[in-house]
Symmetry: C2
């Protein structure tokens, strides 16, 4: 099993200090502002980003607990296979969120719709491109049928 | 700069043996079939995935060259900031592709729309959920204005 080493490229600052109460997706965090601070050596790679309305933040879910093959996701009431959920309790705890980009100023991005914990280590930024990323009618398994309307996390994955 | 260690959870097999000629996104790989083989210990986490039409494959771009702050992306003719592109030459070479899920059989997934090299190490699988991931009208900077219609890679990031 090959081991893969990454280095954090910055930090995401958000109002969310603990998992309980944190929005589970950007869709459930309208108006919630955050700041992405890149380390100095990456500033030159931010050119042209400000033309994009949304960006993908790829980050390390550094406070998720050990992974589990089955979990009860926030949006459901029964156990599901981990890979069929967006739960943070993953073998490789990588999170991704499509947030709105409000401004780029030096090494600092202002973003809206943050759903990650304060101090989350950033791994990558990618532009959101509808032609690549938007599949509005894609069938979504249990998620399409769930009766849960949860929008924030609790302590289950702490 | 915190170091983050991940382990590959499987391998993505595709018809693409070298970067030159490989589709640059799943949108440009219609009908191109691939196989995802998970390592045995992750099989139980695949339950319920088959209800999803599309899945995100998160993977290690293990054959990308050293990162560069500015690159000429495949879909343009001028240099852009790396984070404003989907180029593989990233500080943390993490790729993500929304592919169509055709079948789940034991630890093997058949998928369509593969745009990664054969033998690519898999890091994560997430369900594609339109309510979280689809933003059809999101403004996309230089990408909206580019005159390039490239659909496959060349050797520039080898």
């Amino acid at each position: 099993m090959p081991r893969i080493l990454f280095n954090s490229i910055g930090v995401i600052c958000t109002p969310h200090k603990e998992q309980s109460g944190t929005p589970i997706q950007p869709a459930f965090a309208p108006g919630v502002l955050g700041t992405v601070s890149l380390f100095e050596e990456y500033v030159n790679a931010l050119v042209d980003l400000d033309g994009f309305e949304r960006i993908w933040l790829i980050y390390h879910l550094d406070r998720s607990k050990l992974w589990a093959p089955r979990v009860i996701p926030y949006r459901d009431t029964v156990e599901r296979g981990l890979f069929a959920t967006r739960s943070p309790a993953r073998p490789n705890p990588i999170g991704m969120s499509a947030v709105q980009l409000l401004s780029v100023n030096g090494r600092t991005l202002q973003v809206e719709g943050v759903d990650m914990l304060d101090g989350t280590p950033l791994l990558d930024i990618k532009p959101y491109v509808p032609a690549f990323d938007a599949h509005s009618t894609s069938r979504a398994g249990w998620f399409d049928k769930t009766l849960s309307d949860a929008t924030v996390a609790d302590d289950r994955f702490r």
